[in-house]
């Protein structure tokens, strides 16, 4: 068992006749929070779906926890939270969680404990009896996140989990991600908010299906001579375009 939780090699994905990812390589370390940052449309969600094994890929290899992405044995070891909360609107918070816990094979008191722990972790203890459709957008996305925590997954893939949350809650979720990583869980978290970069152990900057940088934040700042992830991103984009123009001449 190596240090890599996810290994992506020469991944190529085309959607609707357009190449979204073109020969992408990436390694995600175990037990760390890796931030996948980039603007909307840069291929973050497609990459995450490929890691989950739910994306049809043209070519390339994706290995997750030592197995091919999408292998049946990974289904209880990897959890995925989509950008739009995927919960049943006509069930209560608790009914949602109890159902998904059952799908994960948790029974009896184990199921109750898992549901209690997940509800506490996303701070929804007071809302367990409410129907999901009556919750706010931020609360619904936390139910979706709680669902992913149920089976103590080894790898958590979270697509923009902090969108629409107030800053206090965002901070507490990032603290939760850090605590999970300290317990040995691998997290891959996407965001288009660059200031969330400082909460990640490692950053992957994406644009137009390419990886611009894959580094620790301090190293990235030192390399680009900038003071924030946002500026580092701009500097890297400028460098890439300058290089392309230089090549054309």
């Amino acid at each position: 068992m190596g240090v890599a939780a996810v290994e992506v090699a020469e991944l190529r994905v085309a959607r609707g006749g357009r190449v979204v990812l073109d020969g992408l390589d990436l390694t995600v370390r175990r037990g760390a929070v890796t931030g996948l940052l980039g603007p909307s449309g840069s291929g973050k969600t497609t990459l995450m779906r490929a890691i989950l094994g739910v994306q049809v890929v043209a070519s390339g290899r994706v290995t997750v926890l030592g197995e091919a992405a999408g292998s049946p044995s990974l289904r209880s070891r990897v959890a995925y939270v989509t950008q739009a909360p995927s919960v049943y609107d006509d069930l209560t918070v608790e009914e949602n969680l109890r159902y998904f816990a059952r799908v994960l094979g948790l029974r009896g008191s184990k199921r109750t404990e898992a549901v209690d722990a997940a509800v506490e972790r996303v701070e929804l203890g007071d809302e367990r009896g409410r129907l999901a459709r009556n919750l706010s957008g931020g609360e619904r996305s936390r139910v979706s996140l709680a669902t992913a925590l149920l089976g103590d997954p080894e790898l958590l893939v979270l697509d923009e989990p902090t969108v629409g949350l107030d800053p206090v809650l965002r901070a507490s979720l990032w603290t939760l991600f850090g605590a999970l990583a300290a317990d040995g869980v691998t997290l891959l978290v996407s965001s288009h908010v660059m200031d969330e970069a400082e909460r990640c152990d490692r950053l992957v900057l994406m644009r137009d299906g390419q990886i611009l940088a894959d580094d620790r934040l301090p190293d990235l700042l030192a390399r680009t001579g900038t003071s924030s992830a946002e500026h580092a991103f701009l500097s890297l984009v400028g460098g890439a375009e300058g290089g392309a123009e230089g090549g054309a001449r």
Binding site: Q55, A84, D90
Partner: protein
């Protein structure tokens, strides 16, 4: 599978209006039919057949929209990343809606033979059995076609496209053996024809031999459910 069935029933419990529609609509329609013919000879002829038709329509709509919502809400995609089998998902739906189908058929049959006074040659329990079979048929069709609908608008329109032709050809308007030969052959492969045939036997024959019809209906239900499970894809574009 049981977990999924329980969850679908919980969802219905939070939606009492849909629950009421499942139970009440067929009864109201059959009562209306009785009133139109003032309970006379025509009602005695077609009442049983329509008891086999109405549950198909109601269950078709409810299951197709419910499963389409599962697809469009992203919960189906989430389930498919989790340790649950495709037949487990479809089977869970089939169990839950099958349970509702049985309740609906029993209530509708009781209304028809009770207050509406439909007389059948065979014991009225046979009516219930055939009505349950046709409600299950509607459920299986609904589960199946939801795979081909992208929106709820499309799902609803599958009803006239899939159910109404079967209604026209099922032998209720013109006996099947008096239809043009081509249409008769077509009606031979449509499952609703067998539900109506079975109902006719129950009304006219004291010891109806409806085993063959029920077998055909069961075959369609199982086949449509398997096809429905086959349309689920873990990997999508």
């Amino acid at each position: 599978m049981i977990g999924t069935a329980v969850r679908v029933l919980q969802q219905l419990r939070h939606d009492p209006r849909t629950l009421a529609m499942i139970m009440v609509v067929p009864c109201v329609l059959l009562t209306l039919l009785w009133w139109v013919y003032e309970g006379g000879a025509v009602f005695q002829q077609v009442g049983a057949a329509l008891l086999g038709v109405f549950p198909v329509v109601v269950m078709f709509l409810i299951t197709s929209v419910a499963t389409l919502r599962e697809r469009s809400s992203g919960t189906l995609e989430r389930l498919l990343t989790m340790p649950i089998s495709k037949p487990g998902i479809i089977g869970g739906y089939a169990l839950a809606f099958g349970f509702m189908a049985v309740l609906q058929a029993v209530v509708a049959a009781l209304v028809v033979v009770g207050p509406l006074g439909l007389e059948t040659a065979a014991p009225w329990g046979y009516l219930v059995v055939v009505a349950v079979a046709s409600a299950l048929l509607g459920m299986a069709f609904g589960l199946f076609v939801s795979a081909f609908a992208r929106t709820e608008f499309q799902a609803v329109q599958f009803m006239p496209a899939v159910v109404l032709p079967q209604f026209l050809l099922c032998g209720l308007l013109v006996p099947r053996d008096q239809m043009p030969r081509v249409l008769e052959l077509v009606s031979d492969v449509l499952p609703l024809s067998y539900a109506v045939d079975a109902m006719r036997e129950v009304t006219t024959d004291a010891a109806p031999g409806i085993g063959g019809e029920l077998l055909v209906l069961a075959g369609f239900v199982v086949g449509l459910l398997l096809l429905g499970a086959a349309t689920l894809r873990r990997r999508t574009d």
